[in-house]
Symmetry: C2
Subunit: 264 residues, 2 copies
């Protein structure tokens, strides 16, 4: 049976609507990787509520008349709670403003969108979700490797540093034919590597750490699972891609670093 969508969509889908909230993905940070729709919404929003990770180059695309509010919860100071953000969206929309809630990457992964959607629905505020390029794809593009490969990687698993380890209730299994992408793997890659090795992943499982993907200052470090903990720390935000799908880039790195082919 076809479903009546839960969201009460704004009435003019092709233009921004007053009194509506748009949960918009800002992509990985490069303004060129905004969607056409996200760009148009940014340029016509009356209020933008954005995360810390959205760079100035993207916020600069908004109209000078737009009220831009950083509702980031990072930087140590948790002065803004999730409840505050929910309330801000609802207050501005209820006042007839066209509100863009701008989240880095895609709004529907690792971004507490579930709570924001529930709050908007409960308040009967019209909302629409506009996808964005999530960091995993920007990082994969940066290293030039497919996340899947017909011969070696048939699944892709996205998790966060907090949930990638076996401290979690349901640890991920040691599937060698999956590419693992860990958002915000944190600084203790040694611990993560030890856990994955203990779960049965091999020592030479290829790993790439990409920080600031698709942004100025992008850094790429390639290594193996055994040596992951020894890699110099990279600047946050970073992302770990591990799996046989990235073996070529890891081997190339090894060759560049040592002058010896990894497959020799």
């Amino acid at each position: 049976m076809a479903l009546t969508p839960r969201s009460r969509k704004p009435e003019q889908p092709s233009r921004i609507s007053a009194g509506s909230v748009y949960l918009v993905g800002a992509g990985p940070g490069d303004p060129d990787l905004l969607t056409v729709k996200a760009l148009r919404l940014l340029q016509s929003a009356q209020v933008i509520l954005h995360d810390d990770l959205v760079p100035k180059a993207i916020l600069a695309l908004a109209s000078p008349a737009t009220e831009i509010v950083n509702v980031g919860k990072r930087c140590g100071t948790k002065t803004i709670t999730q409840e505050d953000i929910n309330a801000l969206m609802i207050v501005h929309a209820s006042a007839g403003k066209a509100v863009v809630r701008l989240k880095s990457g895609d709004p529907l992964i690792f971004g507490r969108a579930a709570e924001e959607i529930a709050a908007l629905a409960a308040a009967d505020v019209p909302y629409e979700i506009v996808p964005g390029i999530t960091a995993a794809f920007a990082a994969a593009a940066a290293i030039g490797c497919s996340l899947t490969d017909r011969s070696s990687a048939s699944n892709v698993i996205f998790s966060t540093g907090h949930h990638a380890s076996s401290h979690n209730q349901s640890p991920l299994p040691a599937l060698e034919d999956a590419t693992r992408v860990v958002y915000m793997p944190g600084r203790d890659l040694h611990l993560l590597a030890q856990e994955w090795l203990a779960e049965g992943l091999p020592h030479d499982f290829p790993c790439a750490v990409v920080s600031h993907a698709a942004q100025p200052g992008q850094q790429i470090r390639c290594t193996t699972l055994a040596a992951l903990g020894d890699a110099a720390p990279t600047a946050a935000p970073s992302l770990l891609i591990a799996g046989w799908a990235v073996r070529d880039i890891a081997a190339k790195h090894h060759e560049a670093a040592t002058g010896v082919s990894a497959t020799a």
Copy 2:
């Protein structure tokens, strides 16, 4: 150690370069969900080699002078092989053309990009990868549900119909705290459901099937794992999202269909 990227990038990153290949994600089908960069590349390419799933509305954005070639391998007739596609990219780039290899969604997931990248690298053709919105995020936006949820879904697993079942060498485990996204789940959802139930996922595990996400004719069907096989087939391309993260939309659907709250 920082990595020398494997790809030899075109010399003018902000403009299209003659003699280069751009592996570009076309997104889910809505021209509004192209990235700004993808749109610019489409408008300035001399040759576009596209998959079957890229709709006319997107191809219409190319310049009238552009040579547009459908290199899709679907529709039963496998007249074009992967090797043919690789050769076409290399031949056009070597002739000094600016080539866009346009793939639906994001180029780096379930799209045989690994083989195309390897061919370009072997031929020493400059290439660049431009991410796109993959169908999973368009489908999640369509149903208005986050793929992750702090209380119930800390991982997301992407697979294809071909690999989602336990016929695969390494079956996925019955992780209840993961959202499973199956691209092209195929018509035999009954078999898939039986396998997941046998692996230990619960009968009431919420499921949503979205076909033609972000395109005209978009359809959404919500059900449970136990009833997944009974759902009327949806038109391809479709995508299955299963997990507690989509329980609200599934419950809402149940309520709409029966007049009874699923939680009553």
